[in-house]
Symmetry: C2
Subunit: 269 residues, 2 copies
């Protein structure tokens, strides 16, 4: 069947890095993937397409033509075979940065993109402020599986807690928190143990500890993922394993997250 | 005359740390200060009041009584004599995190708080997403002087560039970018030179390079600022100097910022 994954996390934490490697790993196995970047930075799909200038949803909101646009106007297919969309972001200070995400989901319904033959639909969403607009993928129930990307940075854990709260509110809509990916520059046993303790307290499964790698960095310079750039390397293998795990059925005993209150969180981080 | 300062920067960068030390330094000199925290984290005023649980604007938006509230319902005065307000934040995932800020400004107009005898009004505002709500202090023209807090982290520079774009759009409303404060954990000459080069390219004055200090950290544990906790220390002196500089008239030749476009910014950071 079809898998819908929403990757959340604070800005700069490695959401897009994890997301593009998942999409590339699924495409490598012959799956049809739609990868949707929902960060005003608009740099989620670059490593899948190699294309710097591309159309985005906000362009068509601003020229008021979004409803008439066909999927071909929005979707750019990359050399990896992954179809990509970017929501883009308005000029800073004008309007609502989150509206692009909600408008895109309405457009996907209108064009019945959700009935198109994708095996996986992945949303890569900014999680600093989980306000109305950025929560849309969860509210619309497209988020069967939410994946949080975090590190040991206090604000990353703060964002992870907020995202867990949002998931908790939508458990009745079949939204599940599949787990957390720790993407840490220089992990050591002490950091790893502290992050595992945080995940346990939050009631979230640890999907992977991914150390920063040179292969990912070098691939990024060439606007590619490590899956193409260094296919037999350790990073590529780790992302393949994560991609496979996210296609497995969710464990029946997967519980709901147990977010921390403000006071406990501030003392934890 | 009266000074209005808005401190912006990405989450976790040290906005509140800089802001509370400015407010405490101004209060120490006998100035009447109104310090307004505009971050859903709601931890801006803690070191000025020592009070963990306090009223916030969003409470009164949710119970629909904001218009009837008097300043005494919202303002908590701390031991340093600084008056404080917190906008607070809605439950993550519900509504608009930025609306608290815009609603507060409307309320301040309604209650004519802007005519109250404050020498300095400071807003401490989250700058990750400079969407409509969080830009309100600039749009309402209360931001004579915008101060950006940043570091060498890519997302901090990304946010600084976005904030500069917002200021540029409001230069006609007498909004000025007073400068940037670099708050860096372990500064060295190489980092300092790179940050100075970024500020020069952005057309922004460097107000201070503030190294992280033990005095600030220790004071924070006691819910105080370094001004009371270690009054003759280096950190306290540095913040006093910054506070005094922000009360000086703006240099007549202070130009408008020159934000970088996306491509140049991505190559810079
Ligand atoms: N596992 C990793 N290995 C190497 N570099 C990484 C890794 N994860 C993140 N990075 C670096 O961090 C930067 C930010 O990551 P990105 O995925 O763009 O964050 P986000 O999408 O959360 O804003 C990238 O430019 C990348 O170079
Ligand atoms: N100059 C500094 N010296 C010591 N610690 C600092 C300094 N600046 C920031 N910090 C630490 O960083 C953390 C985040 O700073 P904060 O001011 O709360 O950020 P923001 O308001 O931007 O979210 C604080 O808890 C504080 O301990
Ligand atoms: S909904 Fe979110 S992105 Fe939109 S204006 Fe409010 S805080 Fe900003
Ligand atoms: Mg990204
Ligand atoms: Mg703060």
């Amino acid at each position: 069947g079809r898998t819908a994954v929403v990757v959340y996390g604070k800005g700069g934490i490695g959401k897009s890095t994890v997301a593009v490697h998942l999409s590339a790993a699924w495409a490598e196995r012959g799956l049809r993937v739609l990868h949707v970047g929902c960060d005003p930075k608009m740099d989620s799909t670059l490593r899948l397409t190699g294309v710097e200038e591309r159309p985005c949803v906000v362009d068509f909101i601003e020229d008021r033509t979004l409803r008439q646009r066909e999927p071909a106007d929005l979707i750019v297919r990359g050399p990896t075979g992954v179809d990509t969309i970017e929501t883009g972001g308005p000029e800073p200070g004008v309007g609502c940065a989150g509206r692009g995400v909600a408008s895109l989901l309405d457009w996907m319904d209108l064009k019945r993109v959700r009935t198109w033959p994708y095996d996986v639909v992945l949303f890569d969403v900014l999680g600093d402020l989980v306000c109305g607009g950025f929560v849309a993928p969860v509210r619309y129930g497209v988020a069967q599986r939410v994946v949080i990307v975090a590190s040991a940075e206090p604000m990353a854990l703060f964002a992870a807690n907020n995202i867990s709260r949002v998931v908790l509110r939508h458990v009745a809509d079949d939204v599940r928190l599949a787990g957390i990916v720790f993407n840490v520059k220089e992990p050591d046993d002490r950091v790893r143990a502290a992050l595992d303790a945080f995940a346990a307290r939050l009631g979230v499964h640890v999907l992977a500890h991914i150390p920063w790698s040179r292969a990912v960095r070098d691939a990024e310079q060439a606007n590619r993922t490590a899956i193409e750039h260094d296919p037999s390397g350790e990073a590529a293998e780790q992302f393949r394993a994560l991609a496979a795990a996210l296609r497995e059925p969710l464990p029946p005993d997967l519980g709901a997250p147990t977010p921390l209150d403000r006071r406990e969180l501030l003392s934890f981080i």
